[in-house]
């Protein structure tokens, strides 16, 4: 019994220690990126291909995801709202959900899978084949040359792609609601505009920026510190996605609480939790 308790405590301690080490390593890596970021912007010939890879090539994925999410939201909420004779307000719930919550989270999750894993695998392969050492041997700073452009691209493009996903979701929700469910088009957009405030848009934007940050830091860190061989690269890609996904959900919760609290502090007359 005592041995089991000791073993349990040891494993919990080891897990907590591992978590602290991991978070510390990511924080140091972030500081390392920031110091390089403020000492100069990457060259255009380095930045543009990465922006293209992360931004333009992610458009189809976000477009498909956004379209289906808008339609699914319309289907799911229609029945519930119809029971309360509020189906005309479908536009409000679809837009609100997309702008402040589902849009940023889903766009970031899709990008953590498509872009984050690819970045971790690419940098991991570069580590394994000594290309990162070659960057250093040729007088360039690997973090500045390889990580900073990817960080900038994620921070800039995740919010843009999330906004694009929101817009596609709203339009697909509108199309399905008006064409299939028989909702009035004017009412859909009218309620959508009335219910969504600048604060909701700002909340979605803040979330997307921080999701972009976390995807870039985790993916690049995993790639940079990848283990040997093909197995190491595979593990780096998988860990990148899993950790990014956990970080996105954790950040989403923390930011939602923080933003809600801030909102009610600024406007106390609004109904609080």
């Amino acid at each position: 019994m005592q041995a089991a308790a000791v073993q349990f405590t040891t494993s919990v301690g080891r897990a907590v220690n591992g978590l602290i080490v991991e978070v510390g390593a990511l924080a140091l890596f972030f500081v390392c990126i920031l110091t390089r970021l403020f000492s100069g912007i990457p060259r255009r010939r380095v930045l543009v291909p990465i922006l293209h890879e992360i931004g333009v090539r992610s458009v189809p994925v976000v477009l498909i995801t956004g379209s289906f999410i808008g339609m699914v939201l319309a289907v799911q909420t229609f029945t519930q709202f119809k029971m309360m004779h509020m189906e005309s307000r479908l536009g409000a719930i679809i837009t609100m959900t997309l702008v402040s919550e589902l849009g940023p989270v889903l766009a970031a999750t899709m990008l953590a899978g498509r872009v984050g894993s690819a970045m971790a695998a690419e940098l991991g392969t570069m580590r394994v084949t000594e290309q990162i050492s070659a960057v250093s041997a040729l007088g360039s700073d690997p973090v500045r040359y390889l990580v900073v452009p990817r960080f900038i691209a994620c921070v800039l493009l995740v919010p843009l792609l999330a906004a694009f996903g929101d817009a596609i979701g709203m339009f697909s929700g509108w199309a399905f609601s008006t064409r299939v469910l028989g909702i009035n088009s004017y009412q859909y957009w009218s309620y959508a505009i009335d219910f969504v405030t600048a604060w909701d848009i700002m909340a979605g934007l803040v979330k997307s920026i921080l999701f972009g940050c976390s995807i870039a830091i985790i993916a690049c860190h995993r790639g940079f510190h990848c283990g040997a061989g093909a197995q190491g690269v595979g593990r780096a890609a998988t860990e990148s996605f899993v950790l990014s996904f956990i970080a996105i959900l954790g950040l989403d919760f923390l930011l939602t609480v923080l933003l809600n609290t801030s909102y009610y502090l600024i406007w106390p007359q609004a109904v609080s939790l």
């Binding site: 291909p49 084949t129 000594e130 050492s133 041997a137 040729l138 007088g139 360039s140």
Partner: protein
């Protein structure tokens, strides 16, 4: 010798690189133990030894691609730990490194690979970069046609040459070669050896070659350092099994060294054997 506004010592008697009492570990595994090696200006030093004895690590420590746990590294007579950041960066540009697998950047074509160091470090016009890249490609025996190709479209030998051209682009004073002929056929190996030798004479560079191929040692080295794996040493034993001229290495009768030298000949794929009394013309 001025480089980027920072003066590098010109005293020719000062060694190009010296490492003193360097220790290095990978986790619990001891890799380098109190190792001291000197590379004089203009000489070619071969580092040989069994797999896992720390040859490549020694070379990476010399170039500061890996930082040792203990010991000092001197570049042109100056301790790297006492250099300013700028001085350190500019002095390191005096070193070129040919990686074992060439380590060409997959995402860039051959031209961009060779131009990488020039674009990152030298304020050269595009025309000058172009001129230098084609000059270096020509020096390593590659035509301009390869410039637009991707590394994956080239053979192993050609990739090594591109790696060499890339390392030479910044006019290094010291060249490091990490197993330059490993995985290549005898004819290509011979070409790479000839290139290493001609680069030494044309550019007047010091060379450090890590290799298992005793034929490469005989063709390109003036002096040899032979290392032993730390795991096979007792606590008071030195890691350096031999240090001296190439001729001396091949005339030694110490069974450990002689076996390695003979064993090295077995790696040659053309069937020839080199014992400690035989030499390649």
């Amino acid at each position: 010798m001025a480089a980027g506004g920072v003066t590098v010592r010109t005293d020719l008697s000062t060694p190009a690189i010296r490492i003193e009492c360097v220790c290095s570990h990978f986790g619990p595994q001891e890799v380098l133990r109190d190792l001291s090696v000197t590379i004089h200006r203009g000489e070619s030093l071969a580092i040989i030894g069994e797999s896992g004895c720390g040859k490549s690590v020694t070379m990476k420590v010399m170039m500061q691609l890996l930082l040792p746990e203990a010991g000092d590294v001197f570049w042109f007579g100056r301790n790297v730990n006492q250099m300013s950041k700028k001085d350190w960066r500019v002095t390191r540009l005096k070193f070129g490194y040919l990686f074992q697998g060439a380590a060409l950047f997959d995402s860039l074509n051959i031209f961009e690979n060779v131009a990488f160091g020039l674009r990152e470090n030298a304020s050269m016009s595009d025309d000058d970069v172009r001129h230098t890249v084609f000059q270096r490609l020509e020096e390593v025996g590659l035509s301009r046609d390869v410039a637009e190709k991707r590394p994956s479209e080239l053979s192993g030998g050609m990739q090594k040459r591109v790696g060499l051209a890339r390392a030479l682009a910044l006019n290094p004073a010291v060249m490091f070669y990490d197993e330059p002929t490993t995985g290549l056929d005898p004819i290509t190996s011979r070409r790479i050896d000839d290139l290493i030798d001609s680069i030494k004479h044309i550019h007047n560079v010091s060379s450090v070659v890590v290799t298992h191929d005793m034929r490469t040692v005989q063709r390109v080295a003036d002096r040899v350092v032979m290392l032993a794996p730390c795991r096979q040493l007792s606590p008071d034993e030195s890691q350096t099994l031999f240090e001296g001229p190439v001729e001396e290495l091949f005339s030694l009768t110490d069974p450990q060294i002689a076996d390695f030298v003979r064993g090295g000949s077995l790696e040659l794929s053309d069937g020839s054997k080199i014992g400690h009394a035989q030499k390649v013309a």
